[in-house]
């Protein structure tokens, strides 16, 4: 997957990229999961469907990642692979998406314990297209 971790004072971030916005969003999501646990230890046993909306592209990204944070924190669902099935951006700048997330129930015994993510933030958020490649920076509150 196309992501790397960003070194931020006190917290952690992800830089994700993709040929399309959809791919970059998927990479950001899997990158975020990699902060929580080692993705190699996660199996694709279950699928959940998530939806997100945002007032802007940045807002959509934050809201999407926070939806995944919610599913982990409330229900213990840890994802391995993300498939954004539908993504729409309106002329007003608003956007929405629907995604399937493949993963399983987090098990503190079997899965390594990385960072506890409180939320994806707007801090230092970057969504940009350079030379045909989308690049996203997201910083998480830990």
């Amino acid at each position: 997957m196309n992501y790397e971790t960003l070194d931020i004072s006190g917290d952690a971030g992800i830089r994700a990229s993709g040929g399309s916005l959809r791919e970059a969003f998927e990479a950001a999501a899997t990158g975020m999961y990699s902060l929580i646990t080692d993705p190699d230890g996660v199996q694709e046993y279950r699928t959940i469907e998530v939806a997100a909306r945002g007032e802007s592209l940045e807002g959509l990204l934050v809201s999407f990642l926070n939806e995944l944070v919610f599913h982990f924190d409330a229900y213990g669902f840890i994802g391995k692979r993300v498939d954004i099935k539908q993504m729409e951006m309106e002329n007003t700048g608003r956007g929405s998406l629907k995604a399937d997330v493949y993963g399983e129930q987090f098990d503190p015994v079997r899965h390594s314990r990385g960072l506890l993510i409180k939320a994806a933030t707007y801090h230092g958020l970057v969504v940009e297209k350079k030379d045909g490649l989308w690049s996203l920076d997201v910083i998480f509150d830990i």
Partner: protein, 481 residues
Amino acid sequence: MAVQTLRRIDEFRIEIPETYAPGMKVPGLIYLDSALGAGLEERAIRQVANVAMLPGIIKASLAMPDIHMGYGFAIGGVAAFGQEDGVISPGGVGYDINCGVRLLRSGLKADTVVPRLRELLGVLYNEVPSGVGSKGKLRLEAGELEKVMSMGARWAAGKGMGGASDLERTESGGMMEGADPSLVSLKARERGHSQIGSLGSGNHFLEIQKVDEIYDEKSAARLGLFKGQVTVMIHTGSRGFGHQVCTDFLEVMERAVKKYGIVLPDRELACAPINSKEARDYLGAMRAAANYAWANRHAIMHWTREAFMKVLGVGPKDLGMEMVYDVAHNVAKMEEHLVEGRKMKLAVHRKGATRAFPPGHPELPAIYKETGQPVLVPGDMGRASFVLLGTQKAMEETWGSTCHGAGRLLSRHEAIRRARGRSIYRELEDRGIIVMSAGKQTLAEEMPDAYKDISNVVDVVHRAGLSTKVARLVPMGVVKG
């Protein structure tokens, strides 16, 4: 944006003049001595300046000596807003609403606990859930989360956890008035439901400590502290419940910013006028999260007492594990303060800052009316934590606020890099500190070298008169998430 544009006012204060950045309504004021000032991050300075641009901010955008970069507000930030033209900003509270510290004293001397320390920590580690993906130990029945949200620690006390004297020794009596559960989203409830009664991860901890230095004998005696005594410190907050409330309301505030035409230098400062529906709604939900946190710390305190009694085979009387105090260091409160000689009700935001009310303040419980409010400042797991008291000077200069902790020095990544090839666990054990941690990574990230030396931070607030040192507590055993 050169650092030389900052002006050192005196030994303890640096001013960010209004000319530092366009749009600043008041100056910024950072409490720092020159030693700590050397490590001041440019981006944290900018954040203090950004807060100075918010509508209705009064006097100055303040920061305590444990300042470091946060989201929107810097960590260590304090700002007060007037009721007429001010704002409420979730970014001025933070994601972990009512993250705070609770200190328990005991009738035990450290040397009597040392032989049983490992066993004691093992029981605490099992009894108090911690770490990534852990669930809380309390099972809430239908409708009970509502009570947690509106009653806070009083709910826990009603369930047989702790007593009346514990509530009296908790900021706001462990229950913030004006909490409105109907404003809390289903998502926050879902996150909160499974996590109540858990420590969390990151910098949260449960620590068995020993009082190793007394600076003010008289006050220490009033607080029931003596040299060589065992104390327990609990540092945690409102868990996923509070994080979700913050996430939810940042979205609400983002819309409010457009609606009210507020110009912001940073999205994480999203806010709404104090008298708007959005601000009232946030405060109602924030107070529910604050209450959740107090219930959480109350439950953890209860299990701590049980663990001590079980392992040491003593009853509650011999254990003598009474609360010293419980402070919230991430919260917004409506408080009365003097502004140019006039009494005003202000919305005081403390984000990584501790309230430090002086002797005689009407909000203090009878037992602390003469001493002033106990201030609890946790350090890293290898060095020390401090007990201080609030002062009149803090009331006059910082809206009755002081520092909240050591403040990070190294990024998590850098800490892990420097911990490579070392056993932090062993290093601490060599210093007589036993650590139990759910995650290896957390231990490296939270190692002592990752933090500023708490003693330097506390010395600044002590010498600047924002709070006075009473006692130093050193760690004996630590449970980390």
